[in-house]
């Protein structure tokens, strides 16, 4: 579901557009004090819309402790008051900034005095209630200086500091804690603004009541202008930590910079508001807060443009690089400016730059975004358009408020614009995260499917391979058996049959042929036994089969085998070859040599530098050496078989004449045959 919602950037773009529209419409609807009027509908409260204004000759910023103690005698003054409608404002006048700069000379002496302006609100008896006036609520008092509020003669509220360049925009709620009935009748409310004369100020309308109902409007304003923003920042900071954690695991990923960027912005933006709390602290408190405000806009510019690029895929590399340098310039430049002018007591530059630096960053980002959207025309980039639009509207609106142009009971727009921007950030971040999770899931699903397919394929080819292997083994075995039948048993049986067919009555010869035939059969069967690379076991089966026949022929056999290493290549077919070779040699000796002593031995021996095993068969019969070509009878097919089988085993064989008899040697390699 998440994926369905955030996955479609077109939806996201229209969502942001609607959200921006709703925010702007809502804020416009609530401006001009309508918020308070709505909040206080149907309660017993009096709304006061007129006041008297008097510009005092006093030049003292510090407000007097009582009205009677004022140096300008405001308490007793009746003339000079001008009637004004509330909310009233005196806008900043153009020369203000210059004047602000000239407020203090380098030696600290004042050039321009402070201007004090008084407002007087005459209140009739509060309707309803027996105890008279209890609560006073002013949605906004605003100036760059100090404000003090008096009821009749008494100081009931004042700003925290009296430094003249500290901006205040606070809503004010005054609760009168007096004896029951003491506040009956009519009263006079005085508001004292002490600021530079061109700096301007704004005073909202006044609400009074005999009970506690005004807290409702005050609370609402505090929530919308302060607490709501705090909540947003808290949430954003928490998400910032989350984003940082994700980034630490996805540093190399394509969406990695998004998370880092979000984390940085989440901690940088609230820092701007937090820094403001230190503005009235001694050096470097104020400079630091100003630097955070100005330099922060530079960092923000870099972050936002990078985020925009990564999130939307719309990147203008040259302008991005320019943005980076511009951001660094703002951070370093604003810091340097503050340090440079600190000793010179000439904050006019900072006053200009306080607006100028963020303005440059904002304008650049606006232009960059619009350019990117026009160049790429993709939905993700369009998402940013309403946000940028909202921010620009908010800046323009709030600047009017700050400069006291128009009437000052509006809510500030900028906090809402920031919250909307962060929401846009957040939506894109969630989309990136969900997108990567979904991609991973799809990839793993695909992988699983591919794996299953591959497994099936593998199983099939394995079956085919097994089948082929089985067929090949069968065919090899068939060929081997055919050869054995043909060369061995078959040949023997045929010669036995010929003996009988030709009517030869030599029964002994037939029996001998059949005995040989059975021997062949036994050796064939033995060759099927697993010999497990054991040459001696092979030789022992040969003896078991042929021993009785040798003995019967009066041939004494000396069995003289020594342990030899295992032959890794010795399997059933090669075992058969060895058995046939030795059988041929033994039969030969038996039939032709006339020997009466036979010795079979084994040993480890080298042949041409290669290690191997030799089987030696020594007899004491007539000299016989088939290697001497001419002596080789043409009918002796068996010896040819010995040579060819030896070659198949990659071995060597040799006949040697001994002083008394012959020695046949069969050498077999120890290592695997090629």
């Amino acid at each position: 579901m998440m994926q369905g919602f955030f996955g479609r950037t077109r939806l996201q773009a229209s969502l942001m557009a609607w959200l921006s529209l709703i925010v702007v419409a809502g804020l416009l609807f609530l401006q001009d004090g309508r918020l308070d009027r709505l909040a206080l509908t149907g309660v017993e409260a009096t709304h006061l819309n007129t006041a008297l204004r008097w510009t005092s000759p006093s030049t003292i910023a510090q407000p007097p402790m009582t009205l009677a103690a004022a140096d300008d005698g405001v308490a007793t003054r009746d003339r000079g008051w001008t009637r004004v409608d509330l909310p009233a404002a005196q806008p900043v006048r153009k020369p203000f900034l210059r004047q602000y700069a000239d407020y203090l000379t380098p030696d600290g002496s004042r050039i321009r005095p402070v201007q004090v302006v008084w407002y007087r609100v005459d209140m009739d008896a509060v309707p309803g209630g027996a105890d008279g006036l209890h609560q006073i609520y002013l949605p906004r008092v605003s100036t760059a200086g100090s404000v003090a509020i008096y009821l009749d003669d008494r100081l009931v509220w004042q700003t925290r500091t009296h430094q003249l360049y500290t901006q205040i925009y606070a809503p004010v709620l005054i609760r009168l804690d007096t004896q029951p009935g003491a506040m009956k009748g009519s009263h006079r409310l005085y508001v004292r603004f002490a600021a530079l004369d061109l700096g301007g100020h704004a005073l909202s309308s006044v609400w009074v009541s005999h009970n506690e109902v005004l807290g409702r409007a005050f609370g609402l304003r505090t929530i919308l202008q302060g607490d709501l923003l705090s909540f947003t920042w808290t949430a954003i900071r928490a998400f910032g930590v989350l984003a940082l954690a994700i980034w630490s695991r996805r540093r190399r990923a394509a969406d990695g910079p998004l998370y880092l960027n979000f984390a940085a912005a989440a901690w940088l933006l609230p820092a701007l508001t937090v820094a403001d709390n230190f503005a009235d602290q001694p050096w470097p408190g104020e400079e630091l807060s100003l630097w955070v405000l100005m330099g922060g806009s530079g960092l923000l510019l870099i972050a936002v443009i990078q985020f925009f690029g990564v999130a939307t895929g719309c990147r203008l590399p040259v302008l991005e690089r320019v943005a980076r340098w511009l951001g660094i310039l703002i951070v370093v430049g604003s810091g340097a400016l503050l340090v440079y002018y600190h000793g010179r007591q000439s904050p006019s530059i900072t006053a200009y730059s306080l607006i100028a630096f963020p303005a440059v960053a904002g304008v650049y980002f606006t232009l960059y975004t619009l350019l990117a959207v026009v160049s790429f025309r993709t939905w993700p980039s369009v998402t940013f358009v309403p946000v940028v639009f909202l921010c620009d509207v908010a800046v323009a609106h709030d600047l009017r408020q700050i400069l006291h142009i128009g009437k000052g009971e509006d809510l500030f727009f900028l906090p809402f614009a920031v919250a909307a921007s962060v929401l846009a950030y957040f939506l894109i971040l969630v989309r990136a995260y969900v997108g990567s999770v979904v991609t991973a899931e799809r990839a793993s699903e695909q992988l699983q499917r591919a794996l299953t397919a591959k497994e099936a394929e593998l199983a099939l080819s394995h079956r085919q391979l097994m089948q082929a292997q089985r067929e090949q083994t069968l065919s090899e075995e068939r060929q081997r058996m055919m050869r054995e039948m043909h060369d061995g048993i078959g040949a023997s049986l045929v010669s036995a049959m010929r003996f009988l067919q030709h009517g030869q009555k030599d029964q002994r010869a037939v029996v001998q042929v059949l005995e040989e035939c059975i021997d062949d059969l036994k050796l064939s069967i033995d060759s099927l036994e697993p010999v497990a690379q054991d040459l001696l076991l092979l030789l022992s089966s040969l003896r078991f089969r042929l021993g009785a026949r040798l003995q019967g022929s009066g041939l004494a056999l000396h069995w003289d085998v020594a342990d030899v290493p295992a032959l890794p290549w010795l399997d059933a077919p090669s075992g058969m070859h060895i058995l046939r070779i030795l059988q041929e040699i033994l039969t030969n000796i038996l039939k032709h040599s006339g020997a009466d002593l036979l010795r079979l031995s084994t040993a480890v021996a080298d042949w041409d530098g290669r290690t191997g095993v030799v089987v030696g068969i020594e007899d004491n019969g007539r000299p016989f050496n088939p290697q001497n070509g001419p002596q080789l009878p043409p009918t002796r097919k068996g010896l040819g078989n010995v040579l060819s089988r030896t070659r198949l085993l990659h071995g060597h064989c040799r006949w040697q004449d001994l002083p008394q008899g012959n020695l046949f040697t069969l050498w077999l390699p120890l290592g695997p045959t090629l």
């Binding site: 059969l521 036994e529 054991d534 076991l537 089966s541 078991f544 021993g547 009785a548 069995w559 085998v561």
Partner: protein
């Protein structure tokens, strides 16, 4: 004697009759035939394993129960089949190759009756593969079958018995084995018989299981 091949049966009968001191009590060509006569007391039973109506193994087991003193000899074509080992596990004490001469038949039967048993290299090899050595000194009495910790019985051979098997597996015949070990041929044969007896167990299930454990019959 139980033998389904007429020529073979005839040759064996002739050999036994010609011995002079042996008496052929009965002969049969089928398992059913043999079962009908199994009650008659005999000294030696010569049995072919592959009978037309069943396996000679069953007959061996039955006669081991009814006549424990009867010595069973298996008649085999080549002396190498796995059934031969199964037969020894079931209670046979020797085997006879079908192609040997009449004189050798008599000799083998006498040997068996005198307490000796034949063995060939392949059998020696199989026995060596399936055994473990007794941890105690090689006293023949101390080498009974004992269950292993996992419940599996293994063939425990003494060092002398093992030596006999090793020499046989390397191709030496029993005379040479005896010479090399400094014992008589008869003693060497009795070693083999003792090995056979160790292989033998009482129940059929155990016999089969033990034979499988020793790799004498295929698992399926």
């Amino acid at each position: 004697m139980v033998e389904d091949d007429t020529a073979c049966r005839h040759a064996l009968t002739q050999a036994i009759l010609s011995s002079g001191d042996m008496h052929l009590v009965w002969q049969a060509a089928t398992l059913a035939d043999a079962r009908a006569r199994i009650a008659q007391p005999i000294d030696v039973l010569l049995v072919d394993l592959g009978l037309p109506d069943g396996s000679g193994l069953d007959l061996i087991r039955e006669i081991r129960e009814t006549q424990p003193t009867c010595q069973v000899m298996v008649s085999t074509m080549f002396g190498d089949d796995a059934n031969l080992m199964a037969a020894i596990t079931a209670g046979a004490l020797g085997y006879l190759l079908k192609d040997v001469s009449a004189g050798e038949v008599i000799g083998e039967i006498r040997n068996l009756h005198a307490g000796g048993s034949p063995i060939n290299p392949m059998m020696a090899r199989k026995l060596l593969q399936g055994q473990t050595f007794a941890p105690t000194p090689p006293a023949p009495q101390a080498t009974e079958d004992e269950p292993e910790p996992d419940g599996r019985k293994v063939l425990r051979l003494s060092l002398r018995e093992t030596e006999v098997l090793q020499l046989v597996a390397r191709g030496y015949v029993l005379e040479e084995v005896a010479t090399r070990m400094g014992i008589t041929r008869h003693t060497a044969r009795s070693f083999v018989r003792r090995i056979y007896q160790k292989l033998q167990v009482n129940t059929r299930v155990e016999a089969v299981r033990l034979a499988i454990a020793h790799g004498l019959v295929p698992k399926d």
